[in-house]
């Protein structure tokens, strides 16, 4: 699966997450670029990243920073 994440670094939390099936790579890339263009136009600095993982559970393990607050990260 593909996961398009818009992440507010300063706040340390996800603004938006969109999920795509494996066969939707082109669509996911297009949505990612559109989102990034929009952020550039509005001078917003959110991080936008497209990640690929077998499941969302797997993604949440390898990219915990996007999903967990500091305390949960340190103690979970």
């Amino acid at each position: 699966m593909l996961f398009l994440i818009q992440y507010d670094r300063g706040a340390g939390r996800i603004v938006k997450i969109q999920r795509f099936d494996d066969g939707q790579q082109d669509q996911a890339d297009s949505v990612r670029l559109g989102l990034e263009m929009d952020l550039v136009r509005h001078r917003q600095k959110d991080e936008v990243v497209l990640l690929e993982a077998a499941t969302e559970e797997a993604l949440r393990k390898t990219h915990r920073r996007y999903f967990e607050d500091l305390t949960t990260l340190a103690t979970g």
Binding site: R9, G10, A11, G12, Q25, D26, D29, R32, L33, E36, M37, V40, R41, K45, D46, E47, V48, V49, L50, L51, E52, A53, A54, A58, L59, K61, T62, H63, R64, R65, E68, L70, T71, L73, A74, T75
Partner: protein
Amino acid sequence: MDARRPHVAQGGSILNAVSKSQVDQLGERIRKNGITEADLQLLDFYRRSFARAYDHVVTTIRNDLGFEPTGRPTKSTTSIADKLARESLRLSQMQDIAGCRIVVADIIEQDALVDRLTEVFETKSLFDRRESSSHGYRAVHVVVRHMDMPIEIQIRTAFQHLWAELSEKLSDLVEPAVKYGGGPEALVEFLLSASERGRLLESFERRLDQRKDWENQREEIADLAKLIEQTKRELADLLQDMIGKAHLWKRV
């Protein structure tokens, strides 16, 4: 033809369509002025040119090694811009435009996986940051070249991964320099101290694994097991201490 790489010739790279100097000029503009809409489109074109090599590497890891990596087909714009601002390298020299991450339980599994990766991929460079960390960051990175495109594979143990995630999160919440040894002194000290204890913990685990079948070393095995438990307790205490102080450092 795959729409992700519509302008890239079969078996070629972005340099078939856009010259290396154009890629580097793009990097310079991003470094100096930040990103514009036109440059974002060109950057995206460059990033997407890694797709075929990325697919090959991730598929090989899945099929030949039986691991399920989390992939990042393209490095984020903010990460590229930050890296260009931080380092003197050119955009065409960046080796982690595309890559993936594998987290394993411990250093024993990490050693085994790194060995397998270096067997499976013919052209690669190994960056072992476990004994000599980068501002506390410890991991093994294998950069594979396929179709002359570099693809970075990050291999981390569970502890190395926890440390890296904490460092990233603290960089988000406090200031970006934290990841590179900057920020409040107490926070830098925490990260370096936790990293060093992790290094010790993993060195004890490796020594224990090397001796696990040696009947005549039971005393040393017991000592190592104690050291491992003691180091784990020290790490837990450090983490608790950090959580208690975090509110002093946060921007938000």
